[in-house]
């Protein structure tokens, strides 16, 4: 049941058996855990690129890639080989240093969000006291990489895409943060494991349904996914802010985008869908498996929504974020506050 915890204890015993002190063993174990989680996530991200193509195809009544391998699994290898072998064209007018580091920083900030996600009981890389706050802070840093990519390409499409991307990401940052506030009020802590513990009896999606919807919409806008993918709108800005990137630099952007999607799905699972808690008391399935199942459901809804709604026009997008979602999320905070106060007053 607890195979990963047992494995971790085994490795820890082996390390301390070699005569290393407790504190150092702790750091080594964290490092081992971090490498394991990141490898796990990267495998998911690479498979997700294929999964998106297959799922999108089924929504459009066609089959996706199915030539290479049984269900198109060979496509993954083909894509990797292709992107590694493409020539690295940096436009003559581009700002070379910023251009080169933009894809790396985007990828690094996408990975940093995984440090506080609880994959199971006791399976977090770092159970920070400020778990959710850290996640929100990291989410803000992604905007800088978008701006760096858009500006340094010296391409009008890229610049418009980058500026729109930043405007969109900062506009939808606020409803996302305010919607998570309701969860923090209910749980009374920012620590991820406390929040999952507080959902033992009832998942927070039940009292915080509006907050869940607001978070879902704001997260879709934060990760630049349809119907909010105007910064990379294919029909308008040919690939928006990463238009001049080719080969492995583009692949890093794509992987980081999918990693962002998995990260916000994981946060939604942890905060609203009960994390690794088993519903209806079916505890014979390990908590880790429950987390992954809920995560896959959330990821599937992101893929589903992409082909359900038309893309929002940019002024509609900003209007919706500022003039509808922010008042709605503030109202949610007020109602949650009053509700908790009345509940406490009634039950004593």
């Amino acid at each position: 049941m607890q195979i990963f915890i047992d494995l971790a204890n085994l490795i820890r015993g082996w390390i301390t058996g070699m005569g290393i002190s407790e504190a150092a063993a702790e750091i080594v174990m964290t490092a081992v855990g971090a490498v394991a989680v990141i490898v796990f996530i990267l495998i998911h991200v690479i498979l997700l690129i294929l999964a998106e193509r297959r799922v999108s195809a089924f929504f459009q009544l066609r089959k996706g890639p199915n030539r290479l391998g049984p269900i198109g699994i060979g496509q993954v290898l083909a894509d990797v080989v292709k992107t590694l072998g493409k020539e690295d064209i940096i436009p003559a007018g581009a700002d070379k240093f910023v251009f080169k580091i933009a894809s790396t920083t985007f990828f690094a900030t996408a990975l940093l969000a995984y440090a506080v996600i609880p994959f199971g009981e006791g399976m977090i890389i770092q159970d920070l006291n400020i778990g959710i706050f850290y996640f929100i802070a990291i989410g803000s840093t992604a905007t800088m990489s978008v701006l760096m990519a858009g500006w340094s390409s010296n391409n009008k499409y890229a610049m418009i895409g980058g500026m729109r991307g930043v405007a969109q990401m900062i506009s939808y940052e606020i409803p996302m943060v305010f919607s998570l506030l309701g969860v923090v009020m209910l749980a009374g802590s920012l620590k991820m494991s406390d929040i999952v513990e507080a959902q033992k009896n009832m998942w927070f999606i039940v009292p915080q349904f509006i907050a869940f919807l607001i978070y879902y919409i704001a997260a879709t806008a934060e990760i630049n996914r349809a119907p909010f993918d105007l910064p990379e709108g294919e029909q308008e800005l040919v690939a928006g802010f990463f238009i001049e990137y080719s080969g492995i630099r583009w692949a890093l952007f794509a992987m980081a985008e999918y990693a962002n999607m998995v990260a916000v799905s994981a946060i939604a699972t942890t905060l609203f869908l009960g994390g690794w808690n088993a519903p209806f008391g079916l505890t014979f399935i390990p908590p880790f498996v429950w987390f992954m199942l809920k995560l896959y459901v959330m990821i599937f809804t992101f893929l589903w929504v992409r082909w359900t709604f038309p893309r929002l026009r940019v002024d509609h997008l900003m209007h919706f974020g500022w003039k509808f979602l922010i008042p709605a999320s503030l109202a949610n905070i007020l109602v949650t506050g009053i509700g908790i106060y009345i509940y406490r007053a009634i039950t004593g």
Binding site: L84, E87, D88, I174, V184, S189, L252, V314, W322, I326
Partner: protein, 118 residues
């Protein structure tokens, strides 16, 4: 106390090293034949006219300003939310007054057209 952030440092290092490894592998494998035509700026087959690095529209700046105000409000709201259930009525009313003052500013910005996409 800083050791509680060790895992994050490890993730950051992996996040920087892994793309560098991929870029390194790609650099070994990919062809290097730059020609002037390949290095032109892409604009769907046309030539670009005029500079790209021009002054950007003021509306982006307005959104960023109001974002900063609300971001700072968030920083004040989070500690209050953690301790919400053990605070009394006084704290709730005080925070609602705080949010009301910020909403006043938001309403003013809305009325003055700072939130319009020009």
């Amino acid at each position: 106390m800083l050791t509680s952030y060790a895992g994050i440092a490890v993730v950051l290092v992996i996040g920087i090293v892994f793309p560098l490894i991929l870029l390194g592998v790609s650099r070994i494998l990919h062809p290097k034949k730059p020609t002037p035509v390949k290095l032109l700026t892409y604009e769907c087959g046309l030539e670009t006219i005029g500079d790209t690095w021009v002054q950007f529209k003021i509306s982006y700046f307005m959104y960023a300003l109001i974002f900063v105000v609300f971001d700072v409000e968030t920083i004040f709201l989070y500690p209050w939310a953690i301790k919400f259930q053990s605070l009394g009525l006084f704290a709730i009313v005080e925070m609602f007054i705080f949010i009301a003052i910020l909403l006043l500013g938001f309403w003013y910005a809305w009325k003055e057209g700072a939130l319009e996409w020009m």
